[in-house]
Symmetry: D2
Subunit: 432 residues, 4 copies
């Protein structure tokens, strides 16, 4: 089986083997000397990761060749100790616990990047709490918002997916230790004591029982990574849309990257692309982790093996998304002038609802809606100013005179609860 | 767009419209009379769901034709009230909040089915805590376990996915209310107050700000449903494997279902099939919900619409899985005699590890492993009793005489921590 | 199991049962009278689809209750004939063949919609073969293209996915007929002859053997539907981007749909949303069909059942996409003036490559690229005309004087092979 | 962006750059000397793949740093030639065409493995055309089949997915060449001629126009790989089920692999696990490729980048599946004695349909079905021989006496068209 084996992966497995030997020695199951010899040999830099990878393909898993080589190395230093390598454990105990250790190395950095991204968004939310811009729905200009409101939406979502990811991560930091069929039979009655000692040494939680075939903790972590990546992707994609040549309301900070090999003028939004690409990839990887949950009996034939490259890949993809988003939002260049210009270019059509709401008490909601809609379409078709068309309808001017119409069509007069919502978000964010 | 519209769906939307009117009336935004007229008209049985479905396809969403018809109905009773239908809201406010209400109707039943399934598994775990059976890894007999241990693994996993689902469900019970671009601009400064009043009326949580384009709560709920379904599927699939004609250790209780249209002797495991099929479908549906998170700006062009049938479908699939699993485990017929017979038929090979562990202190782990492996293969090839072959190796008998070998090969002597693990699980389960 | 059962579905199953009886009668396996009675009873309008759906849930599949009721109906008219209903077949024969018949009803319409869409795109390609517009990469303006080239890309892709779908569709039009375990044992030696007769009656291909557990034909059809939907989605999404308020280069034809419940001025791109949403949903549905391929032994426990709602759902989704795209492209309103205006608004920056290519023979490619890039960034930063900045660099003007620069910066002078590519596509399209 | 960059990948890109230079030189677009110098420098062993990978992350794609370094290397040998590196192309031209070249290196080997697997299955089909075994549906014994029929099903499916994969592969062997926006504007009118020359040099097909944003060919190839992997997975999973300790009808040939780190007696089905795991992973990867089709305008922001690791990963996964399946089937050990024993152990229950069909002409199908079903359940409940219970029912014995019942219950008398179906498949297979 093709499988990626890195030195960090090898070291994590060796750390588990060494901790296992020490836990066993601490309870008198194996000699102290053996544990010392095993710990001494458990250094990944003396192992050939690519040879292990090749052997794993033949053996069916990476632990088997690793244990064989570890035993050989221990035997060189202390032949007697060699017999205690991997005592009472099964391959999956080592592979799963090593995976948990690797997740512990990597996921907190991802969480941190989501915090960075949220903090950066919070700065934008505060700074631009009153900066009007076009709201956009269905990719059409709608009623105005503030850029602060948009950024506050990012903060709110990022804080939430961060919390969800933290819970899933904590839930996955659990020792795997069960031996061949999950009974720890090789230890007689002493299984729970050794489990406790091993978990303490690795600072992992003790499960109620081994979870060789019940993978929900990992699937839930995969889900949380996927959802966090989805949030990173949708934020990045919005920045990509704002950065369009024709919109130009915000763009990724420059730097060395993002040039085009053919076009000298291009400054490509590289970080947007990274986060957006991650968001395209995450769903399929999450789906694989859920599909892989179907694991037969005490240890699986296929499902477990399907996880091996998938979860690390998802961690990489999510990590790329988090880092790209943090950098993107920290360096985001915001252009309030273009926001204003784009609002004005639409000739006040985005304020049509404002006019209709002012007319509704007098005309009824549907009648008001219909009259304003007619005027809006006429303004577009005849390329005239919306206010001019509105002012021609006596049913409208009976309620709103021209100066009232003009006031109604000013974006800054139709921001509703934008500032309050920004305030809500920043208050909650401050507490996280 | 093809879309499923049920009466329950229509009623949920009408409930939101009515509550909105009442909340607005309570704050003096619209007249009390109007709210009463809207509430009176908001009865789904007077709406034609299939006509709404057809119109939704043209209008782009289901709320638009629903509001049009609601307005017509209100107008018949009270022409003045009609103008206040849907006052200040946008389609998505209604559709999303109605979705939340429907989830509130359906997800607790799913949770309850997972509790039922777990309780049923706990009864098996307790009853069969000491019932030996073959452990199986890679679909091969491995060291023995107890059926209680297997069932305890189910309890542990089911309780965990239940907790995860509960958290995700609670997190999703949030009002959607933002108006056109999420600013509630139609209400001037009064957006937050109306939001509070509306949420109170619907007993939903108040979000920090509208979440039209940030769908992580729904995606997280989808994930939790998917993971729960994955757990249901893996348990069901194990029962399907145990129920194989050649294994026969447990099977689904009979009843009317499960017959074959061609084969009179068949009793098909219908509930297993339902849960297993659900587990095949859930990953793709979860992936869609994560992929759909990419929603542009204030309200999306495509991503939101992709959720409409997907989340209800996933709720249905998960609900099928939960109910099928609860029934399956409540009615599960366990056959300890076949468990014993299958252990014996394998001639003690599953205890090879037990022999090797007893030999290892004297021979070293690798040497012991190699000698036992040789004997195991010889026993298979020559179709002889494992104990007889082992007893021929003087290196083995120097450590374990024949009667020791026989004792070592008894499954009940090599169950390790099975009972302790069952105890751990039942103690935790009792507290949930 | 929750499952959608429509009348068309019921009729398709009844058609298979009736054709089966007739084929058997034609070979003397059952009496002619029985076949006539079965055909007479096989009218879906006399069956209660929702009752069947409820019973299917209990029985494990829809065929079992259908056959029971069909037998009852036949028995009323001809008690002797009732014993020959479903003679020698298994449920899956009926369900799978009925699925094939339903696909035959629906997929050609989808194919036709893709042809319509391609034909509409071809009209745009021809009409706008010389209409310049900004090329856009990474959502940034790049070198110019023509709208005809863009539309030709649509034609090319649509014709290709249409061909692929046609092949997959033809490949799936195969009878399923094997009896309980795929041996047609109930017919002794006569299985192949009855198979031929049945296939001839239903105008379906005869497979080399039954395919109860080998679902690649259906999975391949699902893939082709998914890829076609992906193409529809990417085209629709491009129209959505062109239709943005700030771009305005093309938009969906109006009509009754696409209004906003809150904003009178909005004309939402409803068909874009339908196709884009379909493209979000298709990948997960395709993934489910591939995942469901894992079907045990002669007939599956879970995988088959997972297909039941998934493939029809995918057909619906793809059908929505095809129809929406056909309507979208047939009614697409193209705005060459905005295309020109957007090119001009970018101040010729999209032509930077053109300048660099003209400079490269003299300055070297990298030097030319660097000088033009510097000028482009200066033009942006200082909001000056690109030509003015370029004309200040003596290294540039030594090669290209100002009038040469101006000529070089005209989009219509840098369209390269656009017209030739459009010609290629239209020539191929004409032959399809 | 994290991305895997191998030396083969680098060489493929260099091959494209060198061929591009040569094609351009052959048409006089750049000097012959320059092409020679570029070809001479285009040796991957002189490039540092991991440094390129790091730079790619910053630059946004791998081609940009590759071209920079290639230009530097060319400049050392021939400063004048350096200016012609990558002349008129865009990064995506190089990356996509290099991908096509890599697919051409790898997919034929996968196809070959599927042919090997099919040939191996055909040998089993022919050899065991008359070897009875239990048919199994819903994981329950059903009417008997032959192992040859099962193997013939594998041949039929493998040949079909092989043909589908071949078509998709051929369809993807297409040059990508369009320059910045797909117009080849840098070449004026000469784009088509250079395209032809470049395609000829690389032995790739010439597309009607560049396909930077239309990825259906790659998505279709991904689908075909996914479906082939699905077929490999379902076959492997069946072998895994047959190899269960309690079934034992076939198993993977031994060898060095498949040992257990804890259990000396285990011989794990390693190749089954590889193919089954691949089948779990393929659906998610295919889904990603279809989801990635949504690529904006002339070149994408996210979708393209999502393909980079996904398609190679899918090629690896499919390749693992194909190779594992070929080895599995070539070395498959079949055990006809266990097949016979498992049939007998079920006491003839699998032949219940045979009895019912014999009774049906006299009793009617439903009555016959009901009586046989009752007897079957009684035989199971009372653990008696099926024939004995049947022989107690006078309604049955009125039609079939005991010796007829015994004959009817012999598996070899109820194999139906098994042999004919095997013949069909082998005849078709011989022609492929």
């Amino acid at each position: 089986m093709s499988m990626m084996v890195t030195r960090a992966h090898v070291q994590a497995m060796l750390d588990v083997e060494a901790a296992l030997a020490e836990a066993e020695a601490s309870l008198g199951v194996i000699p102290e000397n053996a544990a010392r010899a095993i710990r001494a040999a458990a250094r990944a830099e003396t192992f050939d990761a690519s040879a292990l990878q090749a052997d794993a393909s033949l053996a069916g898993n990476i632990a088997i060749p690793l244990i064989r080589r570890l035993t050989e190395k221990v035997a060189v230093a202390d032949p007697d100790a060699a017999r205690y390598v991997h005592w009472g454990a099964t391959s999956q105990d080592i592979i799963d616990t090593a995976l948990v250790l690797q997740l512990r190395d990597r996921v907190p950095g991802i969480l941190q990047d989501f915090v960075r991204a949220s903090n950066a968004a919070a700065v934008h939310a505060e700074r631009h709490a009153m900066t009007p811009m076009a709201g956009r729905t269905w990719l059409q200009q709608a009623t105005p918002i503030t850029f602060g409101l948009k950024a506050a939406g990012w903060v709110d979502a990022l804080d939430r997916v961060g919390r969800t990811l933290r819970i899933a991560f904590d839930g996955a930091m659990v020792l795997q230790f069960g031996g061949a069929s999950g009974t720890l039979a090789a230890f007689g009655e002493h299984g729970p004591a050794i489990t406790e000692a091993l978990a303490a040494r690795l600072t992992l939680a003790v499960p109620a029982l081994p979870w060789h075939a019940h993978r929900d903790r990992l699937a839930s972590l995969a889900c949380a990574l996927g959802v966090a990546t989805g949030t990173a992707g949708t934020i990045a994609r919005d920045v990509g849309l704002l950065a369009q040549t024709e919109v130009g309301e915000a763009h990724e900070a420059g730097g060395d990257g993002g040039g085009s090999s053919s076009m000298p003028h291009k400054q490509n939004p590289v970080r947007v692309a990274i986060a957006a690409a991650a968001a395209v990839r995450a769903p399929g990887l999450v789906a694989t982790m859920i599909a892989a949950m179907s694991q037969e009996h005490e240890r699986a034939l296929g499902g477990w093996q399907a996880e091996w490259d998938t979860l690390p890949e998802l961690v990489t993809v999510s990590g790329d998304a988090g880092r790209a988003l943090a950098e993107l939002l920290e360096g985001l260049v915001v252009n309030p002038e273009r926001m204003q210009a784009n609002l004005e270019a639409a000739g006040g059509l985005g304020l049509a609802e404002a006019v209709a709401m002012r007319l509704a008490p007098a005309l009824g909601k549907q009648e008001a809606h219909a009259r304003v809609q007619r005027a809006a379409r006429q303004a577009v078709d005849e390329r005239r100013a919306f206010v001019d068309v509105l002012a021609e309808d006596p049913a409208i001017t009976a309620v709103l005179d021209r100066s009232s119409l003009e006031r109604t069509l000013r974006p800054e007069n139709y921001l509703g609860s934008s500032a309050a919502f920004v305030g809500n978000v920043l208050a909650r964010h401050g507490k996280t």
